[in-house]
Subunit: 210 residues, 2 copies
């Protein structure tokens, strides 16, 4: 298992302009950020992206795809990298649409190096936090999957506030059996107390309203 704090961030640059790719690569390399460049959206989509923190710099105007469509497609394909948009010809509605879809920033060309660096830092930071949350949720879900079917059912009912007797009644089993499953679920989920188990359950299945 990799150490999150040791993971190096990778900046992915998608721009059909070779000189821009080069300039950005130089800029990012100058501050020690690993950088990969792509000339087209398809080029990026065809390249396996390592599951490491980082961000994605996209030119709105790409040969094969609109930058906004590209942005929309990324979430569908499971790429979670924060996006920084840039463009030489964009207008306000375009920038607003990008921001609504979750872009971290939107830079008109030409931009100052420092503005791009600020955007990249912000994007990487947002990604780190998102990854941390996602990682926690995944771990809990994985643990939950190690529970047997019955244990899962019991855990759901218990974290819903039901007593062992009610759990047993709902599942058509004896109270003793319910206790056994309950204890097993607590152990497997690493919950020392019921309060822990409730919070774990809410990570897996968030409550909308209290």
């Amino acid at each position: 298992m990799p150490l999150p704090s040791d993971e190096k961030s990778i900046v992915h640059v998608v721009d059909d302009d070779a000189s821009m790719r080069g300039a950005l690569q130089d800029l990012f390399l100058s501050i020690g950020l690993e950088t990969r460049t792509y000339a087209t959206a398809q080029d990026f989509l065809d390249t396996p992206v390592p599951d490491s923190p980082g961000c994605l710099i996209i030119d709105i105007r790409l040969p094969d795809m609109n930058g906004l469509d590209f942005q929309a497609q990324l979430s569908r394909t499971g790429v979670r990298l924060p996006v920084v948009m840039m463009t030489g010809y964009g207008d306000i509605p375009m920038s607003v649409r990008a921001m609504k879809r979750g872009a971290v920033d939107f830079l008109p060309k030409p931009f100052k190096d420092q503005d791009m660096l600020d955007a990249v830092f912000a994007a990487i930071e947002r990604g780190r936090q998102q990854r941390a949350v996602d990682g926690d949720v995944s771990k809990v879900r994985e643990r939950f999957e190690t529970l047997s079917a019955r244990e899962k059912q019991v855990m759901v009912l218990v974290t819903d506030g039901k007593m062992n007797k009610q759990v047993a009644g709902d599942l058509g089993i004896s109270e003793i059996t319910a206790k056994i499953h309950r204890g097993a679920a607590m152990r497997k989920m690493g919950a020392r107390t019921l309060a822990d188990l409730v919070r774990i359950a809410d990570v897996i299945n968030p409550r909308r309203r209290p």
Copy 2:
């Protein structure tokens, strides 16, 4: 206590251009939305805003204040209305800054009526959801304030997963007394089960990470 579903939304328009104020008022009134207009930021800030759902339409360029500064000041003064920005001369960085600060939309003038209506509907909807959440949190906090000092302490420790014995030890009281406070806290907070109390506690004091 007002019924949230019966509350009428109010659209507040801040623009120094009287003809724009009139046009927007006509537009919103035509679909049955109560509308109030203001010529300056100060005008809005000086007018008491009823605590009702709605949104705020701001022209970036105001006589007395920049629209972005205005937006920033609103949160400081406790006004929670979702903001829709509009402008006749704005650029991309300005729109991006507004969106980063939480604006719902950013419309360049001239805009289509439908675009403005869409933005207003989206803003009102966002506000409704925010109000619903805020209202729930407030209610829980108010309830919590009806607890005595000891009951609060006990509730915190209990929802932290501690047993009555530990709670008593931590507070230097007997287990029996702890039980009494625990029961009182449950009753006053309307928690039927410990699971309920844990979730209520997390509304008051959200846990960062599971």
